[in-house]
Amino acid sequence: MPSVSMTVNGKAVTADVDSRTLLVQFLREHLRLTGTHVGCDTSQCGACLIHLNGIAVKSCTTLALQCEGATVLTIEGLAAPDGPLHPMQEAFRENHGLQCGFCTPGMVMSAVDMVNRKGNELDEHTIRQELDGNLCRCTGYHNIVKAIAAGAKAMKGSSPAA
């Protein structure tokens, strides 16, 4: 089996993987980082969204072997261990931007990427358009939109998540 090395949430990891292993399987099954979820098999739902070299990527359509030498950030690495929550995480809690929680890690990672690309002042229209790649069945998106707008503002001044 080929070997792959990458940095996940600031930690260097190396593993031998079956060449067809997806990045999401690598994260969930090899590293036991189960915060990244699988909600579909057609790259539609965004529950598996992570940051790969600082860019939002669906880990269900990325092979682990493609990520040789890459830097990966998952929901577990968004806030420092024992540190305060990331402003976007806090905004989701404060605005009731989640119900069952299954789409939430992907939503939060997508939202942080949105701020990284579009800045801290996000209007409702922009947020709704940008959420095209994330599905939620519980919230009707109403409070997710509110949470992202608030989280974006709260991220002002904080350094972009790697």
Binding site: V38, C40, E76, R128, D132, C138
Partner: protein
Amino acid sequence: MSSKAASVETATGIGASVRRKEDFRFITGKGQYTDDISRPGETRALFVRSPHAHARIKKVDVDAASKMPGVLAVLAGAELATDKIGNLICGWMIHSKDGSPMKMSAHPAIASGKACYVGDPVAVVVAETMAAARDAAEKVQVDYEVLPAVTDPAKAQSQPAIHEVAPKNTIYQWHLGDAKAVDAAMKSAKHVTRLDIVNNRLVPNAMEPRVAIGDYDTGTQNFTLWNTSQNPHVARLVIAAFVGMAPEHKLRVIAPDVGGGFGSKIFIYPEEVVCLWASKKIGRPVKWTCDRSEAFLADAHGRDHVTHAEMAFGDDGKITGLKVKTIANLGAYMSTFSSSVPTYLYATLLSGQYDIPAIYCEVDAVYTNTVPVDAYRGAGRPEATFVVERLVEVGARELGIDPGDLRKKNFIKSFPHQTPVIMAYDAGDYLASLKKAMEIADVKGFGKRKRDSARLGKLRGIGYSTYIEACGIAPSQAVGSLGAGVGLWESAEVRVNPTGSVEVLTGCHSHGQGHETTFAQLVSERLGIPIDTVSIVHGDTDKVQFGMGTYGSRSGAVGMSAIVKALDKVEAKAKKVAAFMLEASEGDIEFKDGKFTVAGTDKSAAWGEVTLNAYVAHKFTGAQLEPGLKEGAFYDPTNFTFPAGCHICEVEIDPDTGHVDIAGWAAVDDFGTIINPMIVEGQVHGGVAQGVGQAMIENAIYDKEGQLVSGSFMDYAMPRAENFPTLKVGTTTTKCPSNPLGIKGCGEAGAIAAPAAVINAITDAIGTEDLAMPATAPAVWAAIRRAAKIQHAAE
């Protein structure tokens, strides 16, 4: 921070928008969903499913697959029978109008003899890894003789029977109400509004796909099932008592964090049975994780009614009668509660919010070669609301009466109100919710907005839906008399620790509803203790003694009522302990804000002192009082609850493309007492989104061969953020008189109200009623063209 925000944050009792206790683990990726659980020595299961909608299974050859690397077992339906694993069942008996019982076919967990829908499991591969299981599954050779498929429910009764037990594919021919009275009302009516309605078939699509882990312990001979269930105790009961996997006390079912359900995770599914069975056969844990595209073929679907309905009006616009004939598609087998959905959860709500003297409803339930159909958010009540609210709206248009005025004229205004279809509404104020919704929607300004749209070449419409639902399901004796195989009470156990912290064990199950917060709010308020000292335990049959789970918006009305009953007992016992501590008579002890006092004195004991004394038991003897502080209760409701309200949808349509933009949404609901407004609003948002999805984009489509055409997220349109405007949500309140907290329930309201509001708005805009759900852009465009042609021809 403003003082208002501060007060919201510090209040933790009933009525406060407390931020959810469960959220920390979800926003940090530390939730524990079933797929996140990995058992030592775990193997993976993959189901080989029928690619044909209807086919005789002549042979299942597993030899080549069994020899593939990493394969532990390949099992087919015949072995299930050899091991005497019983069939899945439908737990609600419906009798036809001739008195005969419903025609329930055998439903084995793995098909043998015949496959009855695309997706029907025909074999399971158990292997060391998913990859090995996938490779082996390709080697399973199934010899099928393809049979003609029945896919259209409207034609099912004239096609060859799928199951011998059900001639003409008819499961039951049920009815409710007074046919003669309705016929008389139709004859003497000033006007009769007639509609043909298809309530489109939906795929629930909770974001977490289903998962099952079966784990057989060879030492204790105990089974454990981890599953994505809304009601783990009912799963255990069915798998023990009907499937016969193990006695109830030898089977533990754990439903940990569950990623949404919407009804689809109520049911007991084949995969859960097979994982348990296979685990015993191979002596290792067996895990099955459903793919999304597989879920389209494996999870029960919702709705799928074909209906003709007629509403009679008198001289003054009063509704004098309602006649409904529905064909309900139950799919290839009868799922767990399927029979109840188009009957007692449907026809009993056909009176809506209106005083209708005569109602008659006939329902034929049919088998088709499609995925089984069962309860999906609202379950029967969205279908009933759509029938009633479309008839009322179209009736108003035909009579030339304002739709708001026609509703007002017919609203039930005094309570209790006995409808002609079983239900006795206990409380409500339908005029109040309509008025408030009209204010929020700015109905007065609609004319101007319509003219503004017209100037831009756009069509604008407004649609009402004044819905009612029956929740808090339900009094056990009542549902028993209607055919339910279970009671629908709820249980609670309140365990007070020596240090005064509290665990509440509930038979409800939270899969997004926020019970860990709302239930704790009740305990915090009642005992006067910090919310952080209260934990809610649910979803494990080894911890919670029994419970009926969460569906039908029942957890507040029924589950929290059980907690109230248990808290009453805890308080009574704690007062006894306090009486010994304070050397007073039990009758003189008062309890308020977490403090026990002796009436008329300054003697007091804090909650924590009393709880500690209950356990150290130094102040009383065993003969005087049992030590400890733990009480349980079962609460059986005395009536259904009747949430109701008014949703108003405003749309703007581009006639050149048929694109519908939802320009505004006002929802005013009466849910009785609200524990946490933030959570309740969230439930309304989510329900509306699902209802709008049904009305505008979602559709499970089968072709003539029984292939599910919209069978993945590539083909089945799921609502996205850009489909919605900001929703305006308000409430009015009449308390439910039948439960101690006055709660009615809020989980399904949006999904029940929304479809009719959307279709009423679109048809108002385009000026034709000839429009079926989902009203996609092409469908709306075509409806506009058809109407123009008719008008042109008439001119």
